[in-house]
């Protein structure tokens, strides 16, 4: 990957005083997003940490419009807004969903699939911080294997892997889906710009740092995010009409425990007797990466 050339926010579109925790992914991801999308944007927000961060009535953290909607149906609310704007000739107004992993993987999954199937002209941002953080760290289907949450405590840590949301979303044959990391800002910004100019359903899933939920020092938010990419726990890739492209190949092999170790939610895995779980996560990361490489090769060959 080229050295960072484009990582500065040129025009700030987020007011100061946002209500996020220190080191929260929402704060940074929204600043970059809003600065690129501009003020002619309507953000649709289901229940999530961002419902709070955006500010209670009558506040709005972002320069632009914000519509808070029901948990299960942000893509449907956005569909209504999009069609209404299209009728009014406002094709240039961006309609963007800002959802967490609960609103994306779980309760909002059907509405997401519906909107993706219809290829609605919507831009979906999923901040995947791996649990219901707004309600206090409960397990979602995005919660990683091995993590403890308040509903998977202690020895009952999560023993299933998150669903392959990107694979499922990509299988809707939408024009654009991508993963992004806040440790790779220039990649994230490029993806926002690319998605902005595509018509149809677009989704970017960000690996959202959450210091209270992941039990990470807020100062380590970005470095832990970087380790997730370097250890292949969170690969960066794009899916365009089911064609996979990997955006970043880690230069050296790095075991997953390097990324797990600084996160308190995985602390128990390092106790004697739980090491097999780390090996299980390593196998998952390796297999997932091999699968991605194979998918990239296959889908690019099919294209030719």
């Amino acid at each position: 990957m080229l050295p960072a050339m484009d990582f500065l926010i040129k025009e700030e579109k987020v007011y100061s005083g946002g209500l996020s925790c220190r080191g929260c992914g929402w704060a940074l991801l929204v600043r970059h997003l809003a600065s690129i999308l501009g003020e002619n944007t309507i953000y649709v927000v289901p229940a999530s940490c961002f419902s709070i961060i955006a500010g209670p009535y009558p506040l709005n953290e972002i320069k632009g419009s914000i519509v808070h909607t029901v948990f299960a149906a942000a893509p449907a609310t956005a569909t209504g807004i999009r069609h209404a704007l299209d009728r009014q000739g406002k094709h240039d107004t961006n309609v963007v969903i800002l959802a967490g992993d609960g609103g994306t993987f779980d309760i909002g999954f059907q509405a997401l699939s519906g909107a993706a199937s219809r290829n609605e002209n919507l831009f979906y941002i999923a901040n995947n911080n791996g649990a219901y953080m707004n309600t206090g760290i409960q397990t979602s289907t995005a919660t990683p294997y091995g993590a403890v949450t308040t509903t998977n405590p202690q020895a009952n840590y999560k023993k299933t892997f998150p669903k392959d949301l990107m694979g499922i979303v990509g299988a809707h044959n939408i024009p654009y889906a991508a993963t992004a990391s806040l440790a790779f800002i220039e990649d994230y910004r490029r993806k926002i710009k690319k998605a902005k100019d595509i018509k149809g359903f677009r989704l970017i899933m960000i690996d959202g740092p959450c210091p209270p939920g992941h039990k990470v020092d807020p100062a380590q938010s970005i470095s832990v995010s970087r380790l997730a990419v370097e250890t292949k726990l969170y690969p960066l890739f794009e899916i365009e009409h089911q064609k996979y492209t990997i955006n970043y190949f880690p230069e050296k092999e790095m075991p997953v425990e390097v990324c797990l170790k600084p996160q308190g939610r995985f602390r128990h895995l390092f106790k004697e007797g739980n090491k097999e779980a780390i090996r299980e996560i390593q196998r998952y990361a390796d297999k997932n990466w091999e699968r991605l490489v194979a998918l990239e090769k296959l889908t690019h060959e099919l294209e030719e």
Partner: protein, 397 residues
């Protein structure tokens, strides 16, 4: 439709600038949405509503209707999309039934309390035990969501009510249900006078933007967390406007009559006066059956509720002001609210408390679409006259 029934025996009343068509209730509902120029229709099929959205999709496909029609993934999403489009200022229409309405329940609250105008037809059916036939338990169970609810006696009334409902909805920023009976209306053909588009346009102007709409033109924040110090203000504002519905219903019903030739009110009284000993209280198509039956009973009157929520207390009290003190009321319930009394009886008790001392009887009948023919109405009258009990189940005896 008292007026039309009254003249039926002689000749059919003609309405200028209308075309008379034989039409099923669901098609009348779809026609009404077209005449009202609804611009956004999110849709999901459910029996017995399905032909409403099918017909609307046809109208859009045929180019007869300038609307965005979107096949959604569920009723929850239908209402969420309706909410989004209404928020952005479009005139919205859709239709649902039974389980679909129950599934959308969460969003019904959101639409009402975000103060978004729209009109939705519900074709009433119950929930469990599984059943698709006529029953008003679904819509009546949504009473406390804050939606205004009209019940149409005929397909004509459904069509006319949809047009009136848009005026009320957009005047007060409230959503409105117009409820049809499953099959007895939805799938039954009858004469419907279809007004010319220009006649409707004169009555119902295009939707006006009020300034609260989220259109991207200027920054807006909608729906954020409301903290305790402000919460009550929203409900107070809502309360002010929901209290205006009854009066506005009567005003718009009169204006509609002046314009189209068919008059409506929140309620309709038939044969209610000093000579009346019993008043049957009905909604929807059972009303028509009761109209015929009470002709044989000079001492039995009929109180039809067209507006059911908010309950039109003043209109009801006005309609019954000449009743003798010993008259009794019989609410006919094609609904079951899981309580001793059916929904209409509960509402009537609430309205009468402290106002009068009429004896109220409650009759459950026609549950889950069981036919309520004239003989059943006769039996109800006979039972209450000769062996009255506070609550009677007429169908299962």
């Amino acid at each position: 439709m008292n007026e039309m029934n009254a003249v039926k025996e002689n000749k059919i009343k003609e309405f200028p600038r209308h075309t008379r068509k034989v039409m099923k209730g669901n098609f009348a509902a779809a026609e009404a949405a077209k005449l009202a120029k609804a611009g956004f229709i999110p849709a999901y099929p459910i029996t017995p509503q399905t032909t409403i959205v099918e017909e609307l999709s046809d109208k859009v496909a045929r180019g007869e209707m300038d609307a965005e029609y979107v096949n959604m993934d569920s009723e929850h999403s239908v209402f969420a999309a309706a909410m989004g489009a209404a928020l952005a200022g479009e005139r919205v229409f859709t239709a649902t039934s039974g389980q679909g309405l129950f599934y959308a329940h969460e969003v019904l609250h959101a639409i009402a309390h975000f103060r978004l105008p729209m009109v939705v037809c519900n074709v009433g059916r119950p929930s469990i035990p599984w059943n698709i036939w006529s029953d008003q338990s679904d819509s009546l169970a949504q009473r406390d969501t804050g939606w205004v609810q009209f019940y149409g006696e005929s397909s004509q009334e459904v069509l006319d009510s949809v047009i009136q409902a848009y005026i009320i909805a957009e005047e007060l920023d409230l959503p409105v249900f117009v409820v049809l009976d499953a099959f007895y209306q939805s799938h039954t053909s009858e004469n419907v006078w279809i007004p010319e588009q220009s006649l409707v346009d004169e009555f119902l102007p295009p939707k006006k933007m009020k300034g609260y709409e989220v259109t991207g033109d200027e920054p807006k924040a909608v729906g954020g967390l409301v903290q305790p110090e402000n919460y009550g203000k929203f409900n107070y504002e809502y309360w002010i406007d929901i209290n205006r519905v009854e009066k506005l219903t009567n005003e718009i019903g009169k204006k509609f009559g002046d314009h189209f030739g068919r008059y409506y009110g929140a309620v309709e009284a038939v044969n209610i006066g000093p000579h009346t000993k019993m008043v049957l209280v009905t909604i929807s198509s059972i009303t028509t059956t009761a109209r015929g039956v009470i002709r044989q009973h000079p001492d039995v009157g009929l109180l039809k509720l067209r507006l059911v929520h908010p309950f039109p207390k003043q209109s009801v009290l006005e309609a019954i002001k000449d009743l003798p003190d010993d008259a009794v009321f019989v609410t006919i319930e094609r609904n079951f609210m899981g309580d001793k009394y059916g929904a209409l009886n509960q509402e009537l008790r609430r309205a009468f408390y402290g106002e009068n001392n009429f004896k109220l009887y409650d009759v459950y009948t026609g549950q889950g679409g069981k036919d309520v023919p004239p003989i059943t109405i006769e039996r109800i009258i006979h039972r209450i006259k000769n062996d009255p009990q506070e609550v009677v189940w007429i169908d299962i005896e």
